[in-house]
């Protein structure tokens, strides 16, 4: 009797707790409709454009905020016949002239690029281009005698924040100042805003022109009317010429590199009123992007089209993101979401040509390269032959095909597909266990290898099976016993900057479509360990990369990077692994979806 009462009490308690309604609970998953797009998304780490580093946050930030320049989709060659004459191939408000001009001018200059993908089994290519966003046009640089250049940006008249306030040059000055302010702790400011005069000095607390650079923020007194022009402009490289005219002075970098850097979220404009008022302004951002944040609760994020948006208004009015986790594939099959990524487990179902899912699948190769980095300053990887031996001792084709089920493409070179300069026919260091053994024997450490540790980031689970297989292949083919060491992500990043690892597993995703992002950033000997983690130093590579920094002819530049890439492949500071693939399923009632690289928004997607 007592037992039964207890049992009933417990059941009652559980039922009551389940009934309780939370404040701001997510609304139930709506059924498919043509009014809103339902997706699965992650919880963003941050919605502050100056602090975004991960893809998950970029997904939202790219829609809520904007900056002077961005990349946009122009057209898609759906028939793979190299022309864009069919209906539906040219996107948005673009016309045939725009496409032809892009192919004629922007493409050879490196301001436009192609990205290949497979849609429902058909090969297609998408044409992306750098376009002015809040700026009216892409300004040409004007050179000063000392080699620096200034760019004069005209801000669109109709550019407004979501609350209706006009965007002015002072807002940009405020935003750049804030991003470069060491107190903001932006980890991307140095790389992407570092071209602008004074940014590096302000970030590192140094002097510029004899004066220490500090970001002063104008504080409005009680009752004082808001006037953005009162804001202090502290960066020497930023000058406000008029309410809608902004002048940025950059160091001697190629304009194309400067433009790409300006497309990254750290260059986006933010609202001074909001940001100064409260730390939690990202809960309700007053952005300038094509969407605004309608709702953000645990488990759900809702984005709605911004009617005040100055650019092409997205054709999808509302986006509902389910951030609850769980299997998105089954949600997709149950018609709870309209789009999903596909993992290894479900790939068979999608690849089966006769299945309905195959007709809804889009496949693209990411603009990323995963690799195992060797510390070229530490034994035994200070000897090139050892690195080559390790590289040639693993069978990447088997890994990609059998273990990863072709969810990744073997990387033979540093540059990923889609990147200008990518060469699909590269052979690189091929799998050759015999040669690998010989190379190892010839090296300094031929007789006895020292202790070798492969460090992986991320605790919370056992090391990936791919790495376990690689370690086994080294043991079988080289007789080398490598230990796997897992370290938590934060410590990993920290220690990599200090060069404390012998061998580590990493990846690099393209931020913009220029080989400089890989070849210069990761392999020039003067780069800090935070970027050139392997400590690689080759004078010929340095020379080629430095020439490329000032080479105005885009084709010649690409060739310089390719030459450097050849040397890098040969000397193998990176054991190149894969370019991962992305497979996305999209419901048939959604049209004009194209998988886009580098987080570029696809605003042309629509329902029937």
């Amino acid at each position: 009797m007592k037992k039964t009462i207890c049992l009933l009490a417990i059941i009652a308690a559980l039922l009551f707790s389940a009934c309780g309604k939370q404040e701001g609970a997510p609304t139930a998953v709506p059924a498919a409709s043509y009014d809103y797009l339902r997706l699965a998304g992650g919880d963003p780490a941050t919605l502050d454009p100056h602090l975004v580093t991960d893809v998950g946050s970029h997904l939202y930030v790219g829609k809520l905020f904007s900056g002077l320049l961005r990349m946009d989709l122009l057209a898609v060659d759906k028939n793979n016949n190299d022309d864009f004459t069919e209906a539906g191939e040219i996107q948005g408000n673009y016309e045939k002239n725009d496409v032809e001009k892009a192919l004629r001018e922007a493409l050879p200059q490196g301001l436009a690029f192609f990205d290949a993908f497979k849609a429902k089994g058909r090969e297609m290519r998408a044409l992306y281009k750098l376009i002015p966003d809040i700026a009216k046009e892409i300004p040409e640089p004007v050179y000063n005698p000392d080699g620096t250049a200034f760019y004069t940006f005209q801000i669109r008249d109709e550019a407004k924040f979501r609350n209706g306030r006009n965007v002015t040059a002072w807002d940009f000055a405020y935003s750049f100042d804030r991003a470069a302010d060491p107190r903001t702790m932006s980890s991307t400011a140095e790389m992407y805003l570092g071209d602008i005069l004074g940014v590096w000095e302000m970030l590192n607390g140094r002097e510029y022109g004899g004066k220490k650079l500090i970001n002063r923020v104008y504080q409005f007194k009680a009752g004082e009317a808001f006037d953005i022009s009162k804001e202090f402009v502290d960066l020497p490289g930023v000058r406000v010429i008029g309410e809608k005219t902004l002048e940025i002075t950059a160091k001697n970098v190629l304009p194309v590199i400067f433009y790409w850097h300006m497309t990254y979220p750290v260059s986006f404009v933010i609202d001074k009123v909001q940001v100064d008022a409260t730390r939690s302004w990202t809960e309700n951002p007053n952005g300038t992007g094509p969407y605004w944040l309608e709702k953000k609760v645990v488990g759900q994020i809702v984005l709605r089209v911004n009617d005040l948006y100055y650019g092409f208004k997205p054709l999808i009015e509302k986006r509902i993101y389910d951030t609850g986790g769980g299997s998105t594939f089954s949600s997709y099959e149950n018609n709870e979401i309209d789009m999903t990524g596909v993992g290894i487990a479900d790939i068979q179902a999608v690849r089966d040509a006769s299945s309905a899912l195959a007709k809804e699948a889009y496949e693209t190769v990411d603009m990323s390269t995963s690799y195992i980095g060797f510390n070229t300053k530490e034994a035994p990887f200070d000897d090139t032959r050892v690195r080559q031996a390790f590289a040639m001792a693993i069978d990447k084709d088997w890994l990609a095909e059998k273990v990863l089920e072709n969810m990744a493409q073997v990387a033979h070179g540093v540059l990923p597909p889609g990147m200008p300069g990518y060469r699909p026919d590269l052979k690189g260091l091929e799998f050759n266990p015999q040669k690998a053994k010989e190379l190892l024997a010839q090296s300094k450490y031929g007789d006895s290898l020292p202790r070798i540790k492969l460090t992986i980031s991320g605790t919370g689970s056992a090391p990936s099976v791919v790495l376990q297989a690689i370690v086994k292949m080294w043991e079988d083919n080289l007789g080398a016993k490598v230990e796997l060491d897992s370290i938590d992500y934060v410590t990993f990043l920290d220690q990599i900057k200090k060069g404390q690892f012998q061998m580590f597993s990493l990846g690099w995703v393209a931020d913009y479509p220029d080989p400089e992002d890989f070849i210069d950033l990761k392999f020039h000997s003067k780069r800090s360990k935070a970027n050139n983690e392997t400590g690689y130093a080759n004078s010929k590579v340095d020379e080629l990369v430095e020439l490329a920094r000032t080479e105005k002819d885009a084709q010649k530049r690409i060739r310089l990077y390719q030459e450097a890439e050849d040397i890098i492949i040969e000397e193998s500071p990176w054991l190149l692994l894969f370019h991962s693939k992305e497979i996305i399923l999209v419901k048939p009632y959604i049209h004009d979806f194209f998988p886009s690289p580098m987080g570029i928004s696809n605003d042309y997607m629509r329902f029937k």
Partner: protein, 341 residues
């Protein structure tokens, strides 16, 4: 030969005795054992565990002394057969990178058994019994120190302590062995260092349970008149503890060992799942589960989970069930008077 076998059999499965015989030889273990054997399910659980430990023990020895008991190595890759279901060449199929699952399961059992025994012996028995005896017999300050220490350790959330200790101590601990030259390197390569680190850290927390039990029993026994008698006769504390108290504790120690083996094994599996315990290439159930922890994977390749999962589930169930039964039996034995089943 027959005599030997029947002697062994008699040790584990005593024949029924008449009431008189039973009363004349009070033995906690024997009583509990007989009661347990009456329950069919308990017998099944015991048999399963016995087989588990037998296989595990053999596997552990095989690993240590380098003789093979399976046609495949536990990290040997079959390049042609990746993610295959059960077949004639691989009875339980192959895992995500082509390693034979049956072999991995056998050696994982070895890992579990090895660690569970080491943890229980070192942590529970050596440390726990010693400290428990000391605390119980000497009382006073020694008792306070030991028990307070135990309480502090109990309060700390064990998972986070493991996390912290393994992450900070592991590199230093390993470097210590590397410094010892080639002998040290061999120890590391065999995975012994890894193992020892795990069981040292576990033992740090495990001794508390057994120490408490030992201590309370010792406190009771300490008051026995024959202890006083021994003391009057001049026996040293050491002798008293060893000759008079300890033998009476064997029963309770054995029961504790039984329970501890189960929880130690499960703790190891749990920790390896999070990458904090045994590290690849040495096999462990935790690692196997971690590799297949994506739910979607199981829809396509169920064989990856079914057999290891079944074995671990049965293992956990057996221990849980036996513990429950032991609890009931102990209660009935004590409340209803000795000898009654």
């Amino acid at each position: 030969m027959k005599a030997l076998l029947s002697a062994i059999l008699r040790m584990v499965w005593p024949k029924r005795k008449s009431p008189a015989e039973t009363l004349s030889e009070p033995s906690l273990i024997k009583d509990v054992w007989k009661a347990l054997l009456k329950n069919k399910l308990a017998v099944c659980a015991l048999i399963f565990l016995a087989i588990f430990f037998l296989i595990g023990f053999t596997a552990a020895l095989a690993g240590l002394f380098d003789f093979s008991i399976t046609p495949y190595g536990y990290d040997e890759i079959d390049y042609q057969a990746v993610k295959q279901g059960p077949s004639w060449s691989h009875w339980l199929g192959t895992d995500l990178i082509g390693r034979d699952i049956l072999t991995r399961v056998i050696f994982s059992m070895g890992t579990t058994v090895e660690l569970a025994i080491l943890i229980v012996i070192f942590g529970g028995l050596v440390i726990g019994v010693a400290l428990g005896l000391a605390a119980g017999y000497f009382g006073g300050k020694i008792d306070s120190i030991i028990m307070r220490l135990g309480e502090v350790l109990t309060i700390m959330p064990p998972f986070f302590m493991f996390l912290y200790l393994t992450m900070t101590l592991r590199p230093r601990y390993e470097n210590l062995f590397y410094g010892m030259g080639s002998a040290g390197e061999w120890l590391i390569k065999e995975g012994i260092v890894d193992f020892s680190m795990i069981f040292l850290v576990f033992s740090l927390f495990f001794w508390v349970g057994s120490a408490r039990i030992i201590r309370s029993e010792t406190l009771k026994l300490r008051e026995m008149p024959y202890i006083d008698a021994s003391r009057i006769l001049g026996a040293s504390s050491f002798r008293i503890i060893l000759r008079h108290i300890l033998p009476n504790l064997l029963g309770i120690i054995t029961l504790w060992v039984f329970e501890a083996l189960g929880s130690a094994a499960m703790a190891e599996i749990g920790l390896s799942f999070f990458g904090l315990g045994i590290r690849p290439p040495h096999p462990s159930f935790g690692i196997m589960f971690s590799e297949i922890s994506s739910v979607r994977l199981l829809g396509s390749y169920p064989h990856l989970l079914v057999f290891p999962g079944l074995i671990v589930s049965l293992f956990i169930f057996s221990f849980a069930f036996l513990q429950m039964k032991l609890d009931i039996i102990l209660n009935t034995l004590y409340t209803k008077g000795g000898g009654k089943q």
